[in-house]
């Protein structure tokens, strides 16, 4: 475990609401670190609908998902937040009054005076194919991500999918694998044409196999895969012997570890006080789509409001001895200095 990262507020989730919370906290001289499971900021806006228009951001008649994220990044730049991307928060425990200790799956350790959960619909995790009896193989010989390529050296690999991840890993792992078979439901790929051409050349030269169909059955024992059956579009079954399978079917949102942090959830949402957006645990806040309260609307604009009120309460935990004076960015020189415009 590396050294402890100390911060005023830790924000879990770098979607639009987590990003704007940095702004509201920053105006109050509160420093923030953000952790997000995706390898980029923006949450659902960046992952699910970067090019789709959003029409209900106040004073912005139309903006794309990615456009909103880019604008928020620019808006919070003066506050220089630290991002920890591609990491999932695993544990969260209260160790002081209030002080929280938070760990990630990459072994990072944070200590924060307050924590804001801005996790939206949960964390993005790989979709699991509905193959009967896949569970015992997961993590042993069925993997949804490649952390260390060497694990697959001299193995017979089955890569399933037709997108960029499937093609990229096919090209990266083919040279070190004993034999690689790519399985896709159709003979067309949505991946970059260059990757597809490279893959087709490898197939043509006999260096790897391509099977068109869907995986229907796994064979093996004690979590170790031995073979997979692939059903073609004509219904014919082909059996391919393999040591490991890597399915790439995109991401889906799962509640994940939020359920383990000692909060009483309502329909997988976190109940909060609507004056402060604090949960039942003092110093632990929940803002955006992940929270619930009477009248809750899952709108980005609601999440912005929630972040502003959260910041007001968090101030008292970060600066318990100070009195907070409410100010406007239009007229306050002190706020304008923080924004770098005065």
């Amino acid at each position: 475990m590396s050294e402890t990262i100390k911060t005023d507020v830790l924000i879990i989730g770098a979607g639009p609401v987590g990003l704007f919370a940095v702004f509201e906290l920053g105006l109050l001289d509160i420093k923030a670190h953000l952790v997000d499971i995706l390898d980029k900021v923006g949450g659902q806006c960046a992952e699910l609908y970067p090019e789709k228009p959003i029409y209900d951001i106040p004073a912005v008649p139309m903006i794309s998902g990615q456009g909103l994220v880019d604008a928020l990044k620019q808006q919070i730049k003066p506050f220089n937040p630290t991002f920890h991307l591609g990491e999932m928060v695993v544990t969260l425990e209260k160790i002081g009054d209030p002080l929280f200790r938070v760990t990630t799956d990459r072994g990072k350790l944070f200590e924060a005076k307050a924590v804001a959960i801005a996790a939206g619909g949960g964390s993005f995790q790989p979709k699991r194919p509905p193959i009967n009896g896949i569970e015992p193989y997961e993590g042993k010989s069925v993997h949804y991500a490649v952390r260390k390529m060497d694990v697959f050296r001299n193995k017979r690999l089955l890569i399933v999918g037709g997108g960029d991840s499937a093609l990229d890993w096919t090209l990266n792992l083919q040279p070190i694998a004993k034999r690689l078979t790519l399985v896709h439901r159709r003979d067309e790929f949505r991946s970059a044409p260059d990757s597809v051409n490279k893959m087709r050349a490898l197939v043509a030269s006999g260096a790897m196999d391509l099977k068109i169909g869907q995986v229907t059955l796994l064979e093996g024992s004690d979590g170790q895969l031995a073979a997979a059956s692939i059903k073609g579009s004509d219904g014919a079954i082909t059996r391919v012997e393999c040591d490991a399978m890597l399915p790439f079917f995109g991401l889906t949102m799962k509640l994940g570890t939020v359920a383990d942090w000692g909060l009483k959830l309502e329909n997988n949402l976190i109940p909060v006080d609507t004056g402060t957006f604090e949960t039942a645990i003092p110093g632990l806040f929940a803002i955006g789509d992940i929270n619930t309260y009477p009248g809750k609307l899952k709108l980005i604009l609601s999440g912005f409001h929630e972040g502003a009120l959260m910041a007001q309460k968090a101030y008292h935990y970060v600066y318990p001895e100070k009195r907070l004076v409410f100010q406007y960015t239009t007229s306050s020189t002190s706020l304008q200095k923080k924004l770098g415009v005065a």
Partner: protein, 107 residues
Amino acid sequence: MPKITFIEHDGAKHTVEAEIGSTVMETALRNQIGGIVAECGGACTCATCLVHVDEAWSAKVGPPSAEEEDMLDFAFEVKPTSRLSCQVKVTEELDGLVVHTPAYQGR
């Protein structure tokens, strides 16, 4: 108003009214039909609103667009008549449409 029949994987059958111009996905959510997740809310980016169009209706509903066909790569147990229901617009011609919802959408 056109009617759509949703048949869930366990055989549960729901016939509901659908607004012209809305999508089959929106109709399913409005009527709390099981088996439709629609995580992205209709942006054709998540493949969690998969339906298998009944054979008898497949020709009338038509094939997916290239964009939708790409997204079908992220769905499971895709059949020749499968569609993402957020991409199927309700029209007068689809009155009586029958679609089957899968057991699993990836979450």
